[in-house]
């Protein structure tokens, strides 16, 4: 199995006529994703790679069952697009857009929580369940995605889109496939953190271990450590922590919007300590992840 998406998941792309969304549509279709429509106001009636384009989400939802939406619209229009998807009953939103003001992200997340919807992102590359479907740009072209991602038992979550692929590729090379890989986004506030996705992996019988990529900034890693401890998770977790050089550079932003050291809790040293205390294995290098995963799986 997988989490969040399977081969049966139907999805739409909001902003489908944008340059990046057009190539993303091609990639996803080639990978086998069921794209039932696209939305760009004023472009209704067109087709993108055979996918019908509508003016509103409501128009697609009247015709089709829509499980998920990928939102790829400019930052100024993202909140409206997310509200539109949520208010039309779509339960899974993948927001690719970067540079959305934090207040607006919080509003989208608050509405999603009220309506029982889930947001992945913003500032993410999406979700990929190997052999099933991918929604978003994660993994790139189907031919490239198939090289890096293979079906298996490791759940992957990452604050970096590119590093999601790097880690999955490393796991694949070591003979470890993935159940679902999720690029969760690089902003300070994101729809779904590690701890919020853990229950889904926990409930997925095919996921047997978790690998995460983490960075300085925020409390997300500490929250994962808390979750793992409080819930006595059956899943061994291995983490890689990038940006250790930033501990000595407070106030500077590197990499992603959420990556900044403002207090002690933001530092990699503090995060690593908290994760280790919760039994999470911390890999010094990406290539150490597979061996740590195997070791933890073997010990079970």
């Amino acid at each position: 199995m997988s989490i969040l998406i399977t081969g049966d998941t139907t999805c739409i792309i909001q902003g489908i006529t944008g340059r990046e969304a057009v190539s993303m549509t091609r990639e996803c279709l080639d990978y086998g994703t069921k794209i039932v429509g696209g939305v760009t106001p004023g472009r209704g009636g067109r087709e993108i790679h055979g996918v019908p384009v509508f003016d509103t989400v409501e128009q697609v939802c009247k015709r089709e069952r829509v499980d998920a939406s990928v939102i790829s619209v400019p930052p100024a229009f993202t909140r409206d697009a997310a509200f539109e998807a949520i208010e039309n009953g779509i339960k899974l939103l993948v927001i690719v857009t970067e540079n959305i003001p934090r207040f607006e992200v919080a509003q989208m997340v608050e509405l999603a929580n009220l309506r029982g919807a889930r947001i992945i992102g913003p500032n993410c590359l999406g979700i990929l369940s190997p052999g099933e479907a991918k929604i978003g740009g994660l993994g790139g072209r189907a031919v490239d995605a198939k090289k890096a991602f293979t079906k298996g038992r490791v759940g992957v979550m990452s604050r970096s889109g590119g590093m999601t692929t790097e880690i999955c590729n490393t796991l694949t090379a070591a003979g470890l496939g993935q159940s679902t890989a999720c690029s969760i986004g690089g902003d300070a506030i994101i729809g779904s953190s590690y701890a919020e996705l853990m229950p889904l992996y926990e409930a997925d019988p095919e996921t047997e271990a978790i690998a995460i990529y983490s960075e300085p900034g925020g409390r997300m890693e500490a929250d994962l450590a808390r979750w793992v401890t409080e819930n006595k998770s059956r899943l061994p977790v291995v983490a890689f922590m990038a940006g250790r050089f930033m501990d000595a550079m407070p106030g500077m932003r590197f990499g992603h919007a959420g990556t900044i050291v403002e207090g002690k809790a933001d530092t990699t040293a503090e995060k690593i300590e908290r994760m280790r205390a919760a039994g999470i294995g911390v890999a010094e290098r990406i290539e150490d992840i597979p061996a740590l995963v195997k070791e933890k799986l073997g010990r079970k």
């Binding site: 934090r102 207040f103 692929t165 790097e166 409390r219 890689f240 990038a242 590197f254 290539e287």
Partner: protein
């Protein structure tokens, strides 16, 4: 983007927050004397710098007369604090304080909502209070969808204050919450919020941070307060090298080749993307490498953009080699980056085979990219070589130089 104290106070005052009497910025000792003369009684003079530790550095002085105020301002105006020159000196009335509170609003990334924080142990580091005296901290989250309403501020304040103090503090907490949400702030703090000996409350110090993404929406406010578009207010003033990097990125909308940060070393780095750059920078340092720069490429930048970034990095004095490395790419094209760095090296008058210590970017269009690299004799590696190992190869070549 951090506001100076006087700017933060200008913003608060516009929303009805009570400040100490006077509270005006002086740019000269004479101006300070004039402001002090309008204040009946003792004054405090505070250096306006974007740095902590003002008190310790001698940037906060007290005066009893306008003449003393002028003398204090003279000292403060020439005092550099942690490398920052003051923007001016804030002159305010100084009154006896009965109790100090901390009042702040920031983002809770786990609850994903703004959180109001109040402590009756004001004036000191709130994180420390939270750790050592959690019973002296009150918190309340606020909705971003429901319009802010006073009762939330009352729920916060009633946890720690009693009697008429509750209503008095609410008159600070409510406007602070509204300001926080209206202007896209990431932090709004009044610390200390003082209860004076006469029972009234004033904001003694204030600190406001606006997120970069919100600047565009609040141009009118920034103009009114006097914050120019050119003021980046970053933790460190950008160097010329960094500004040149930003210009290269801005000149071409295709992809990213920028976010350059200058370091002291001589190993040039062309790395990406966001997470990959963090990972690779750590790896280079772990191997004993001394980077000349940090940067990020991604989103499939054009050949010209990569070439210009390459030329910039090679132009930095002492840079002997560059390492070109990324995680497995799916959007950025390997061949485009390969063309870009080779073009940049050649246009800098160098030999790609010698200048490029390693090229480790596997992924989309890699066959095309590797073909170009071998033509120029550049050492490259595919995905079977880890990012860490590639960084090691780069460092050993750089050391051998």
């Amino acid at each position: 983007m951090r506001f100076y104290e006087y700017e933060s106070k200008l913003l608060l005052a516009r929303h009805g927050v009570a400040l100490p009497k006077g509270s005006k910025l002086a740019k000269t000792a004479e101006e300070a004397r004039q402001i002090a003369a309008t204040i009946d009684g003792p004054t405090v003079l505070k250096s306006q710098v974007l740095s902590g530790g003002r008190m310790k550095a001698g940037g906060v002085l007290f005066a009893n007369t306008p003449e003393e105020a002028a003398a204090a301002a003279e000292k403060i105006l020439v005092l550099e604090i942690n490398g920052h020159k003051p923007r001016g000196v804030l002159v305010e009335s100084r009154q006896p304080v009965a109790q100090e509170y901390y009042l702040g609003i920031t983002w809770d990334g786990i609850a994903k909502k703004p959180v109001m924080i109040l402590s009756d142990m004001g004036g000191i580091d709130v994180e420390e209070v939270a750790e050592k005296h959690p019973e002296h901290i009150a918190k309340k989250h606020i909705s971003t969808l429901i319009p802010f309403s006073e009762f939330r501020a009352k729920e916060l304040v009633a946890q720690l204050a009693t009697g008429t103090d509750v209503n008095a503090i609410v008159r600070f907490a409510a406007p602070l919450a509204r300001i926080f949400m209206q202007y896209g702030l990431t932090l709004a703090e009044i610390n200390p919020l003082a209860k004076l000996a006469d029972g009234t409350f004033v904001a003694l110090d204030a600190h406001v941070d606006m997120e970069a993404e919100a600047r565009g929406a609040h141009k009118a406010l920034l103009k009114e307060i006097g914050i120019g578009d050119e003021e980046t207010r970053m933790a460190r003033t950008p160097t010329k090298f960094e500004l040149d990097g930003a210009a290269i990125n801005a000149a071409d909308h295709r992809g990213v080749a920028g976010n350059v940060t200058e370091f002291d070393g001589t190993l040039g780095l062309i790395i990406g993307a966001g997470g990959g750059s963090l990972t690779l920078f750590d790896a280079v340092r772990n191997h004993g490498g001394d980077p000349a720069n940090y940067c990020e490429i991604g989103g499939n930048p054009s050949v010209g953009k990569v070439a210009n970034l390459t030329k910039l990095i090679l132009s930095k004095p002492g840079v002997t080699k560059i390492a070109v490395m990324m995680n497995v790419v799916s959007n950025t094209r390997v061949d485009m980056v390969a063309r870009g760095v080779i073009k940049g090296v050649i246009e800098s008058g160098g030999n790609p085979a010698e200048k490029i210590a390693i090229f480790r970017i596997p992924g989309s269009w890699e066959q095309e990219g590797f073909k170009i690299l071998s033509k120029y004799g550049v050492e490259y590696c595919d995905r079977t070589v880890s990012m860490y190992e590639a960084a090691g190869r780069a460092v050993s070549k750089w050391k051998g130089n």
